[in-house]
């Protein structure tokens, strides 16, 4: 759950009265854009991405213009711009027109959790506006934050002084930056990054203005819901399958999925964070999704997870795989009932397909669960192999891949024919 840019970022900053540039969205009229140009001389046109996206400037996605014609041209260019971000390509969905803030300094500022010292930390540089990783250590400084007190003014003052920040900017920064801790701490953020933060001269004073923002939210912290951001902005990269499964998210039992390859052939029900990590790696492209359904989900939840998974992916499934280590607390019987009851009901409603089932699992009520699955699969005339908890999980995964190859190549067609013949 991330956002970037002022389209929604300004709403965050408003919560703590942190100054942001005056701005318009892509739907602004020509008159409104012209008025913005008239007022500020120059404006910045940026694409809107519905997630945390960096290095936009480097990619030429930020345009500074001083007339309506150029502004509209920039809008046309950027409205649906695509941007390669790490290994991912994201698409824009609109633009913003933002006041150009004159400043002779650009500040980088962020707050996040440091796993090195296990404390929240702020990081600051007065040579911001660039890729932060490119700065030498003497240009950037990180200081931990006492969570029950917040961002301390003296820490900021000392740090800015150490970074040789011009004296005239220190006071406005020290007065305003602690507001960002309030935002971070009160609204369930896990990262906030302002880059660049420019210092705008207003009369004799300087006002720090957040010219770009990136924020990430902790999905386990309900505080972010108070902001009132449209949830759709976090779902731009969520598939309909993932969205449907996400609705089942409760603290009892996991229901995490990531759709990996809808053209994959193995439908893997993975149990446990470890199994999720290891199994997804082993299955590679064959896995339709990555999942973690561990944490002892109740029957109803497991049934729903399975029902939704089958609804979306049954037609592509060649091998149905149930994989996990030796569960500590997850009741295998309950989870298997959920999965195989849903399978039976799905087939009853949508028709039979020749799918091979491979199971590798251990844990409480294992035999009861396996026999339950076996009886349903026998009834459905689906072939299966179930491996004991004393089998290596990785060997089971590799076996499932080999079964998948054979079943795709010849097994399923032959079997479907034999079932058809025997009625």
């Amino acid at each position: 759950m991330q956002l970037s840019g002022l389209r929604y970022g300004a709403q965050l900053l408003d919560l703590v009265d942190f100054p942001a540039p005056e701005h318009l969205t892509g739907g602004a009229t020509n008159g409104e854009i012209q008025a913005l140009i008239d007022k500020h001389g120059k404006i910045v046109v940026k694409p809107v991405f519905h997630e945390g996206v960096g290095k936009k400037g480097k990619a030429g996605l930020i345009r500074i213009v001083d007339n309506l014609h150029d502004a509209l041209e920039a809008k046309a260019d950027l409205y649906f711009a695509t941007h390669k971000h790490g290994t991912r390509t994201v698409s824009a969905n609109g633009v913003t027109f933002e006041e150009f803030v004159e400043s002779d300094i650009e500040v980088y500022f962020s707050i996040s959790e440091s796993t090195t010292i296990r404390k929240p930390t702020f990081t600051i540089s007065v040579t911001g506006g660039v890729d932060i990783e490119s700065l030498t250590p003497d240009k950037i400084s990180s200081v931990w934050i006492e969570p029950f007190i917040g961002l301390k003014s003296f820490d900021l003052t000392n740090t800015l002084k150490d970074l040789n920040c011009p004296q005239r900017y220190i006071s406005p920064l020290v007065q305003n930056l602690p507001k960002l801790w309030d935002l971070y701490n009160s609204y369930g953020l896990s990262t906030i990054e302002i880059n660049p933060l420019r210092l705008k001269r207003v009369g004799t004073r300087y006002v720090p203005v957040a010219c770009d923002i990136k924020a990430a939210f902790d999905q386990d912290n309900p505080a972010h819901r108070r902001i009132g951001l449209p949830m759709g902005i976090f779902q731009s990269n969520i598939t309909p399958f993932e969205a449907e499964i996400n609705r089942l998210r409760t603290y009892q039992g996991q229901s995490d999925v990531l759709e990996l390859n809808t053209k994959g052939s193995i439908l893997p029900f993975m149990f446990g964070g470890g199994a999720n990590s290891a199994a997804t790696e082993t299955l590679g492209d064959k896995a339709i999704f990555s999942s973690d359904f561990g944490g002892n989900p109740p029957y109803e939840k497991m049934y729903e997870i399975s029902r939704i998974s089958l609804k979306h992916h049954w037609d592509a499934t060649n091998v149905l795989l149930v994989i996990g280590g030796k569960a500590n607390n997850t009741d295998i019987y309950v989870t298997f009932r959920g999965i195989f009851d849903a399978l039976r009901d799905h087939i009853a409603e949508n028709g039979w397909r020749p799918v091979y089932v491979v199971v590798g699992r251990g844990g409480p009520n294992l035999i009861k669960g396996m026999v339950y699955a076996r009886d349903i699969l026998d009834g459905l005339r689906l072939p299966y192999k179930m491996f004991g908890y004393d089998t290596s999980m990785i060997l089971t995964l590799e076996y499932a891949k080999r079964i998948d190859d054979w079943w795709l190549k010849e097994g399923n067609a032959k079997y479907a024919e034999s079932v058809k013949l025997s009625g």
């Binding site: 969570p147 470890g274 290891a278 973690d292 500590n328 179930m386």
Partner: protein
């Protein structure tokens, strides 16, 4: 701000050696001890650890948690635990995520001897986690978690926190020299299990959790492992995200902590590099520098060798990295060889593929083929026991106000039975719906003759024993009452009880001897058992019903294991010149088992239900039989019950119609009859009819009494207000000279009739209001609490039926009248919008149409018409209620329909 520091760390760490982290002397208090997870896990932990849980907290409650070592006292708060002088050094938290930080604060506030807190809860927010860290750092308390399974010490046989080792920790946690630190709770146990294959046991295993904050991280763990004399090496499982490993390895490199023991580490999760939201562990989300490859490099650099390759094993004295946890044991063995040490014990088992269960229908190629292996004990023994079980199984729970059979669809507001709308079901025959109500699926075509035969035959059985019905009728009892009087006496009727016994015996034998469709020769042992338990030498008396059933069973071509076995029993009896004991019950049982065998195998229905089927079918058939109004003069009834056996395979629906209306139905009448019955199958589990049945089940009555419970909870208020609608329609059509309600050319000015009715109601309303009535009695069967508020309102159920009528060319004058009436009420300003005609109207108009001829001919009085409408409602609901009874018997607990004292109110 000054912070506590424990050398060599920059923060507080209270564990010097793993040996002391949890011991047999550790004493524990579990928060939310009676929660669903803790309630199961804590007793196992307590017993394995020889009784280390001194108390638990369940907010707002007091009580105890039973264990084999005695009860653990439960208090409403930590303060009360301390006040009652329970001393503990470790707190375990099982609360929902938002409550965790509060519990930490409470533990710190009231217990100054606290050393450690283990947080099992997952999905604790990062903000709460950092607050917890600061609180505990200031207090000098170690935290393990969140989202972890705690710690286990195999030397002392102690586990604290979650369920490491599952429900049998002694199976997995063998004493040895390997300390485990794992980001995955499951892999903590799985690695311990795997390590035994190369002869390694464990000293202490720590499930660290993998949230953003890992409070007991690798640096602290390695420091404590180094100081632990039991530990000779360390096994780690690591996922992407966080710099914990880098910090630890740098501390070693910079000699801030002395660490000299070898490490085998498994790093997984390269694929997580590109994801932007977590899947699996919340903290396994990496940035650019802490992804899986970075972590692999940190360790490879530390070890000085690359990833372990079993074909070319190279390890260093510092250890090695592996790419999957299955390689941890062999890599550990290689590292031990390198440092010149030997494993803890002889290897136990191996990790090769062990096929426990396999289908026997698909032959896989030789390279994928393998023999099945008998599981290790105790799994092999469990397999033997579980193999004999069959059918759906449910966890028993309080089923008061709950149902697994019916519900109201929250979107359409239409009632559903077994997830199918009553609108769909109303197009089925009665026999189909009866089967569906019990089996949860529609019957197969080939089973319909058997279902009809069973229902028709059961109507015939005891057809001359209806004393109670006749007496009740004579006393003016309503249909529900006279039906109940007869059903109550069914009890555990011997022929039904014996049929159930036969079913049970056959199911047990099939599972005991592993017989299925592919079994060629039936085992001799099976025959011996049958001869002993089921066959007799003395020929029983013959009766026509039994002969008919025998012929039917012998002639059946259905492919079904249960039928195969029953036929085998009959053949065996012939061969041995013996007879099957209680033949009629055996054949009834055989036929019912045969039609329910597939749903039983597919776990749609429970074994209990299948054994009970004869009782259900008999009770339902008896309900229909007892409702025949004038048995002596009903030629259809006489034909079925008197004289030779004829027409047993005919449709039960047609028979039911004929018995009720004493007339043969045409195609239209039959359709209308089906709609009528289908629409009243259920109105959800909240109806008093369903509740009556459920309450009777919860009091542990025989099945027929559960139907009595339903009947006792129906009355003149039922059929919606269809009963009143009939009265209303009769009044409005009294002077219309209507001949055939199904003829569109009826010649009546319906619009005028509707306008008149609307006007009269408007005047009535004004009068009532003038007299000060707070609520004016409404016109029956219009308007609905859900389908209202629009300019023109429609009840989708009524709309469905009207469309069905239109499609099939069925006309009903009363429906048209009702539609004109709601429009007229609006036109005359009596209603603010056009009300809907609701589903109850459908019931009334169909019923009235069906009886119109007989009423006009004087064969039925208006009271009889109203009774008939009520009976029709009871027909539908009997079928639907059967599903509630089955469901409650399968899942409920005794007396679960009681209302708790706290919810009762005394009204003055």
């Amino acid at each position: 701000m000054r912070q506590l520091k424990s050398k060599p760390f920059e923060s507080y760490v209270g564990v010097y050696s793993l040996e002391e982290m949890v011991t047999k002397d550790s004493r524990v208090c579990v928060i939310n001890i009676l929660g669903s997870e803790s309630r199961k896990v804590t007793p196992v932990s307590h017993e394995y650890s020889k009784g280390n849980v001194v108390a638990g907290v369940q907010y707002g409650r007091e009580g105890k948690l039973e264990t084999k070592l005695g009860d653990i006292p439960v208090y409403p708060s930590v303060r009360e635990v301390i006040k009652n002088k329970h001393h503990f050094d470790t707190g375990v938290i099982y609360l929902p995520p938002t409550a965790v930080s509060q519990a930490v604060s409470e533990l710190l506030s009231y217990n100054h001897d606290l050393k450690r807190i283990i947080i099992v809860t997952e999905k604790v927010s990062t903000a709460d986690s950092r607050n917890i860290r600061f609180l505990c750092q200031e207090a000098g308390v170690d935290v393990i978690g969140c989202n972890c399974l705690g710690i286990a010490n195999a030397w002392d046989e102690v586990r604290i926190g979650g369920a490491l080792g599952g429900d049998a920790p002694e199976e997995t946690l063998h004493k040895g020299s390997i300390a485990i630190h794992s980001n995955s709770g499951n892999f903590t146990t799985t690695m311990a299990e795997y390590l035994r294959t190369e002869g390694f046991g464990i000293s202490t295993a720590v499930s660290s959790g993998k949230d953003v904050y890992i409070h007991f991280a690798l640096a602290e763990f390695l420091f404590a492992a180094q100081n632990d004399p039991r530990t000779r090496a360390v096994a780690l499982y690591v996922e992407p995200g966080g710099y914990y490993e880098k910090v630890a390895l740098e501390m070693i490199a910079e000699r801030r902590i002395a660490f000299s023991k070898p490490i085998v580490v498994c790093v997984t999760g390269r694929w997580k590099k590109d994801i932007t939201r977590s899947c699996g562990h919340a903290g396994a989300l990496s940035g650019a520098g802490d992804d899986a490859i970075s972590k692999e490099n940190w360790f490879d650099e530390y070890f000085g060798v690359g990833c372990y390759d079993p074909d070319n094993p190279v390890v260093s004295k510092r250890g090695v990295r592996v790419d999957s946890i299955q390689t941890v044991p062999v890599a550990m063995k290689a590292v031990f060889d390198e440092i010149g040490e030997t494993p803890d014990f002889a290897s136990q088992g191996d990790l090769s593929l062990k096929l426990w269960l396999s289908d026997n229908v698909v032959q896989v190629p030789p390279k994928l083929d393998m023999p099945m292996i008998e599981p290790l004990e105790p799994y092999a023994e469990q397999l033997g026991v579980v193999n004999k079980q069959v059918g759906a199984q449910y966890l028993r729970q309080s089923m008061s106000d709950k149902s697994g059979a019916s519900r109201i669809d929250p979107m359409s507001h239409v009632a559903q039975l077994h997830n199918r709308s009553i609108l769909d079901l109303s197009t089925n025959t009665l026999e189909e719906n009866i089967y569906f109500s019990l089996a949860k699926i529609m019957p197969e075509e080939e089973d319909l003759p058997t279902i009809n035969t069973l229902l028709n035959l059961m109507m015939r059985l005891d057809s001359d024993e209806m004393v109670a019905v006749d007496r009740a009728r004579a006393n003016g009892a309503t249909p529900n009452a006279y039906l109940a009087s007869e059903l109550a006496s069914i009890g555990n009727r011997p022929v039904l009880a014996k049929a159930s016994e036969h079913i049970s015996r056959v199911i047990s034998a099939i599972r005991e001897y592993g017989i299925d469709d592919t079994t060629g020769k039936i085992p001799e042992e099976f025959d011996k058992q049958i001869i002993k338990e089921m066959l007799i030498k003395k020929a029983p008396a013959q009766d026509t019903e039994t002969e008919f059933l025998l012929k039917m069973v012998k002639g059946s071509k259905k492919k079904c294991t249960s039928l195969k076995i029953c036929k085998h029993i009959l053949t065996l009896a012939d061969k041995k010149k013996m007879y099957v004991r209680d033949m009629q019950a055996f054949l009834l049982g055989t036929m019912t088992l045969c039609i329910f065998w597939k749903p039983l195998l597919r776990k749609r229905v429970s074994r209990q239900l299948v054994e009970d089927i004869p009782h259900y079918l008999y009770t339902i058939a008896r309900t229909f039989a007892c409702s025949v109004i004038d048995r002596k003069n009903n030629k259809h009834w006489q034909k079925l019950t008197g004289g030779p056996l004829t027409g047993l395979k005919s449709s039960f629906t047609e028979n039911a119609y004929q018995f009720l209306f004493n007339a043969k139905p045409g195609e239209t009448e039959l359709l209308e009859f089906k709609y009528l019955i289908g629409l009243t199958l259920t109105n959800g589990p909240g109806t008093i009819s369903a509740k009556g049945a459920k309450e009777s089940v919860s009091a542990r009555n025989y099945i027929s009494m559960a139907f009595v419970g339903f009947l006792a909870n129906t009355g003149l208020a039922h059929g919606g207000n269809g009963f009143e609608a009939v009265e209303f329609l009769l009044k409005n059509f009294a002077e219309s000279n209507l001949v055939d309600p199904g003829d569109a050319k009826h010649g009546i000015d319906l619009k005028a009739l509707a306008a008149k009715a609307a006007k009269e109601y408007g005047e009535f309303k004004v009068r009532e209001k003038a007299l000060g009535a707070l609520r004016v009695k409404p016109i029956p069967c219009i308007n609905h609490p859900v389908f209202k508020g629009a300019a023109v309102n429609i009840d989708p159920r009524e709309d469905f039926i009207c469309k069905q009528f239109a499609e099939k060319g069925i006309y009903n004058v009363f429906v048209e009248f009702y539609h004109l009436l709601v429009q007229e009420l609006f036109n005359q300003g009596i209603t603010r919008n056009v009300f809907c005609v609701n589903i109850d109207a459908v019931l009334a108009v169909i019923a009235l149409k069906l009886v119109w001829d007989n009423r006009n001919a004087g064969k039925l009085t208006d009271e009889m018409v109203q009774n008939l409408v009520f009976t029709l409602f009871l027909y539908g609901r009997t079928i639907g209620v059967a599903a509630e009874i089955v469901d409650h018997r399968d899942r409920g607990t005794d007396m679960d329909c009681r209302t708790p004292q706290s919810k009762l109110k005394y009204v003055l």
